[in-house]
Every structure is written in C-alpha cells, then in structure tokens.
Amino acid sequence: MSTAKTLSLTIDGTPCTCESGEYLYDVAKRNGILIPVLCRSDAFEDHRACCRVCIVEVEIKGRRKVVTACVYPVEQECAVYTNSEKIVEERAIVLALLAKRAPESAEIVAMARYYKAPELDRLVELDGGRCILCGRCVQACESLGTGAISTINRGTEKEVSTPYHNPSLACVGCLSCANVCPTGAIPFIQAPSTRSIWGRDFEVLSCERCGAPMGTREEIAYAAKKAGMETPVICDACRKHEIADSMMGTYRLV
C-alpha cells in the first residue's frame, strides 16, 4: 500500500521532494546535502540522535525550530537550513562539549576544530575520554543478536561495558562494536592468530586452503548457526573458487 504523499521542501535553498514521513537526513543526503552525524549509522534502521550533531533548523509557516535531522520525519512542506547562523553556533557548542568528553579521540577533536568549536575553558576535559556514549556499539551488538554489551549506570557514571565488567560469555569477538564506533573508543588487540576484546581472548581461525584469517572460532560458529549452515573451514574467496570449479565441471565450459 503506497499512500505516502509527496512533499516538496527546500534544503538550504535547494528544492527537493520527498515522501511524507521520510527522515530529513535521508532527504538531504539524496539531494547531495550532507548533514554531519556521529551516532547515526546506515547499518541500522533506528536512529537515536543522541550525539545532537545533526541539528538543523526547520521553518514551517514562518516559524523556525531546531530539530535533529536523523529522526525528524518530514510531514509537511518546509524550508530547512543546515547552516544557519544559529545552527552553526549550536553545532559548534555540541562539538565543543563532545570534545571535552572525548579529548583523546582524534576524530572528535578534528571535527570540533573543523566546525570552529569554542574552547570552553571553564570545563574540564574527561581524562582519557574517547567514548561519546552514542550507543552505536550497543546497537550493533544487539542487532547481531549477541547482546554482550550495554550502557550501564547513568548520568556521569554512564559507560559502555559488559555485565559486571566481566568477560562476557555472549561475546563472539566479531569486533562489530569496535568497527561501528565513530571515535575508536573500544580497545581490542588483533594478533595474527589471536584477538582480545572486552577482557576475553579469542582464537582466530585461518582458512584451511589459503591460510587467510577468517575470524574467531566463536564468530564463525555463531554466523554459521544463524545462517543454518555447517561451520565453514575455508574462507569466502576459496569457497567461491570451489563453487566456480564445480560449476565448470558441471557445464564443461572450459
């Protein structure tokens, strides 16, 4: 059933069209206007807009308001400003605060500088801070179905961790959390045949044919179980070769 209404809007003066209910961020991106984001990942359907970097100004019938583009569904005709004076100033403050929280993160510091974030000397930098608590890692872990990490405590004590800070039995060592992290805040050690993350050591298996690393034993077993397959012993590339060879034999296309 497609009853979605088509709306027209302008973003920074560029006329655009979208379906009613589409998120403003997506509409802007489709039209070549990039709104900065940190906590958003296209890998997930849900967005939390907790980093507040994606703020834009929306004008409806002459009234302006600041919204987060990631989770703002366009429902009526409007004019959007992604770089108005107000937005530039507020985004700079948001980034200045994030830079105080994560001074160790090169990405955040660079972004704060790029958007001309004020210094905010009266605030103290968080010692060794890299995490901005955006929750992307938790979202990744949950969506994989492993659910090994979550945000714990609240307020100034809030952090991302495994239950009781113990090495999690649910973790499969897939590094998804570290890979989606926008600030590189999740530490892990990757050696040729071992990997450690969240206080747990994993053995990295290699392809039986070509010797390329395939991932941790737990990760491979988990993925195979989820896909309803047997646990593979050869890597994707070798498997493709094998299938191609057997196809060649079948159809005799030499």
Binding site: C141, E142, T146, G147, A148, I152, N153, R154, T162, Y164
Partner: protein, 157 residues
C-alpha cells in the same frame, strides 16, 4: 547468596515476555533486598533477552540494587528544604550510630543508608524515612531512639 530455586520461584510466575523484565527484577529486589547475579542470568534466559540488557536496566534504576541492601533502609531526604534544615546533620547522626555513609550497609546487614531527593514533605523538614515510616523534624539527638525503634529486636537467651 540466593539459591537458584528461590530465583526460579519468582521468575516462573511471569510469562515469557520481555516486558516483564522490570517487574521480575523489582520482585527480586523486594524478596532478596537486591538483584542477584544468578537471578539476572536466569531472568535473561526466561525472557529470551541478553544479560547485558537486564544489567543495563538494573544499573539505571535507583530502585534496583546489585549489592545486598540492609533489612531496614534509612532514607535521608536531601531535597532543598531538608538540605537547608540540616539533612547533613542527620547523615552525621546516622554515621555516629551505625558507622555508615550514604550508599553503605552495616556489617550485620541490618541497615543501609541512602541520601534521596525530595520526598515531598518539605513542611516537615528535615525528613528521615525508615522502612516507609516518616520521621519529621528530626533532630540529631533523636536518631539513636529512632534507629532502636526499627532495629530487629535482639533475642537474649
């Protein structure tokens, strides 16, 4: 330590649906004075969710505690009115009597002390609540007798 049987007697009363997570944990908090680790793991299994999710909830809500609380919970109101009228004195008074600061439990597991936000009885400031009983306009001298009132009677043989 809470036995697995005690835990499952609570959990089994609930349908296997994630929305009962908070209710299960509240039940455990009431029964055991805390949410035990084996309880959290068993709940996750029963409700088909991750331990991490439940742990996140358990650490978020102040009503849930992961460490055993005392049998009697002393709440000292530290809202604006109580604060001005000497809530800190009450904390000192309790510390003198029991040797615990907010967030701690006495060694015998009898009392735990918490500093809480406004209890809505500002006219009665400063307020001290033990096991749901409100003590109003408390003076530091009155604390020993209030604590005695609530302590489990010692059986002498």
């Amino acid at each position: 330590m809470v036995s697995n049987e005690e835990v499952s007697s609570i959990i089994d009363a609930y349908p296997r649906d994630r929305r009962y997570a908070l209710a299960v944990m509240q039940d455990m908090q009431r029964t055991f004075n805390y949410v035990p680790e084996n309880g959290l793991i068993a709940t996750a299994e029963h409700l088909d969710c991750s331990v991490a999710q439940l742990y996140s909830m358990a650490t978020f809500y102040k009503a849930l505690s992961l460490k055993p609380k005392g049998k009697h919970i002393i709440k000292v109101c530290d809202g604006t009115a109580c604060h001005l009228r000497g809530a800190n004195n009450l904390v000192t008074g309790v510390k003198r009597e029991l040797g615990i600061v907010p967030g701690e439990v006495t060694a015998d597991g009898e009392f735990s002390l918490e500093l809480v936000n406004c209890l809505g009885s500002c006219a009665l400031a400063p307020v001290l609540v033990i096991d749901g009983v409100y003590h109003n306009k408390v003076k530091i001298d009155a604390i020993p007798s209030i604590l005695k009132e609530h302590a489990t009677p010692v059986v002498t043989q």
